[in-house]
Symmetry: C2
Subunit: 372 residues, 2 copies
């Protein structure tokens, strides 16, 4: 059962349905989201994922449940699934700490794989795999970004997500690890240029994307940064520092309103992609192991024009669909909450993930440029 | 009688009061604005300049009235003064076309000198003077800006005016003349670097500042641009194009509000100068006469720390105070509305203006760098 039939959930459901051994049901509150899936022959069910009782009814007897609802609903949905004792694979990127669900999952005796997208997701997997292979890690740097190929002034950015989620990345303090110490730096800080072969120079800046890795990986240096076209961070910082992201209301002669509400409405307009605008997703993970080995893993994926899927949906949805199969066939059955780095420690599962991604055109190249 | 005792009005009143031959009354709605003037021995009168009847009472028998009220009140105040048959010198920069008051002033048989600040103001005077001396003009370029010495990211700008007036400059289409034709270009367009000896490289961009010059001067090429530190125009254009200056309300879940209202509140905070922050005003007028002569007139004025006056107040207020004397003593008595370029055509008045400005430390240097 796939809960949520947005861009990502629909892709997950369609991917799973191609497997003749699986009986897939897609669930969403809005009929229009389900229509194309029903037309493609999938079983669909209209239900409100925000209502735990409706969720419980929809997932009865499911071998695995994929959570693909908006972030703000994520925790509630995950809780309902684990309460019902069903295995979970989640890509809702719930803002809460997913480890808080660990007790519930253990009690139910079911696996719950969380943060199962691209980053968090594939990034965690790559780090977990390297930590196991290289006998621990010294340094981790994760860079990730989804961008349009066409650079349009002033933001050179498009988003199919709500601007609220993007702004959240630009305001939330970033937890990192530096020389063995946990540090917190402001979002949008640490701006530096990064060369990406396929598109040229991008800029990287700190965001709060390490999440579970801060607890599961003991590398003394760990950094996560978001990639945008150069200049984006400065513009966003200008808006933030002027107060345009403030939730504290501004009182004018005629209204009292949180600037962030107005900003979100304006940026939604500015950031909506044009029809057929092509985009790409880039993920680069640089690692240095305790044994001195350096590695760089890179993913570069672009809009699939033939199938009409965005790289954002592909790189987020395929990992979830592949892990859902691992859970469904019992290849991953450890009870409790597991972030992807836990699965990454298993070489066989990693081989399977990479092969399945490659079969779908998503390739992760890993090179070892130098030995320290 | 000086109507309005804000930063500029107070300086005009104090300047006029130094003249033992003049009996000066400063008028303002707020007592706190009048207090320092009363303490300095000036006659003050608390009255609401937004009420034409109160204005009429305040200006009875005045030899000359200086209008120094906020722009939105300017037209109403000017009308009240001319209705009462009193001569007017105005620096309110009323958004309306001041020539609409010409009939009223002629009927009253009194002079009304409008736009009597720095630019519009001294800029017009310089152009009018050159047009008379050089037998007409081929080209006029006016650059003007008021800026803080300290450049603080991101705007590198401060304003004691309402942000609303500044935003207005950034949204109003700019009327220019190019190769003999009237053209309209967007504000913030035509960005180019400009070297200013005292402060380095600034940027100039189009704003709608030619006003009366478009009708009084028949030069085939006339341009007005505002000066800021480089990068300011791009930031303002970003805000404008995203919709942050829109007056059309944005409807959010909780409110319906014009983005411009919120933006003005936030920019007021961002643009308020720190106490004792020093600023400068720069004006540069480049001219080419029909006779082939090129001339550059430059004014550079800075905060007067000893007297505690800003260059903005000095360069705006002194021209008004000097012209008010010319009207009071009958040196300028032409009935009807006259912009400063009309007075500039008179060589004796020009000599007097420049000498009086210089006595107050405001110097306009005119050089003739080359002959075409």
């Amino acid at each position: 059962v796939v809960l949520g039939a947005g861009r990502v959930g629909a892709l997950v459901a369609a991917d799973l349905a191609e497997d003749s051994g699986l009986d897939v049901t897609a669930v969403d509150r809005t009929g229009s989201a389900l229509e194309p899936l029903a037309a493609a022959g999938l079983t669909v069910r209209q239900a409100d994922c925000g209502d735990p009782r409706e969720v419980a009814l929809a997932i009865e007897d499911a071998a695995v449940v994929v959570g693909a609802v908006p972030g703000f609903l994520g925790y509630r949905v995950a809780e309902a699934v684990l309460h019902a004792g069903r295995p979970l694979v989640d890509i809702s990127f719930l803002p809460e700490d997913p480890m808080r669900l660990d007790g519930l999952a253990r009690k139910a005796g079911v696996p719950a794989v969380v943060d199962c997208g691209v980053a968090p997701g594939l990034s965690n997997w790559i780090v977990g795999h390297a930590a196991a292979r290289l006998g621990g890690l010294e340094e981790v740097e994760i860079l990730v970004g989804g961008l349009p190929f066409r650079r349009s002034w002033p933001y050179e950015y498009r988003s199919v997500f709500s601007p609220s989620d993007v702004i959240e990345e630009y305001v939330r303090p970033c937890r990192m690890r530096s020389a063995g110490r946990d540090v917190v730096v402001p979002a949008l800080s640490g701006v530096e240029p990064v060369e990406i072969e396929e598109v040229g120079t991008l800029e990287a800046f700190c965001t709060d994307g390490l999440r579970t890795l801060l607890h599961t990986i003991d590398a003394p240096t760990m950094v996560e940064k978001t990639l945008r076209y150069p200049g984006h961070a400065d513009r966003m910082r200008m808006l933030r520092e002027t107060g345009f992201f403030d939730e504290e209301p501004v009182v004018t002669d005629r209204a009292s309103v949180a600037p962030r509400e107005v900003t979100e409405a304006l940026l939604r307009r500015a950031w909506t992609p044009d029809p057929d605008e092509e985009e790409f997703t880039v993920l680069r993970v640089r690692l240095r192991g305790r044994d001195g080995t350096s590695e760089v893993s890179t993913l570069f994926d672009r809009t699939d024009r033939e199938r009409g899927t965005t790289s954002m949906a592909r790189t987020t949805g395929f990992p979830a669909a592949i892990v859902a199969r691992m859970v469904a066939d019992g290849s991953w059955s450890v009870p409790g909450v597991s972030p992807p780095e836990k699965l990454g420690a298993d070489a066989a599962l990693t081989d399977r993930l990479l092969a399945e991604l490659a079969r779908r055109g998503v390739r992760i190249r890993t090179t070892s440029p130098a030995r320290a």
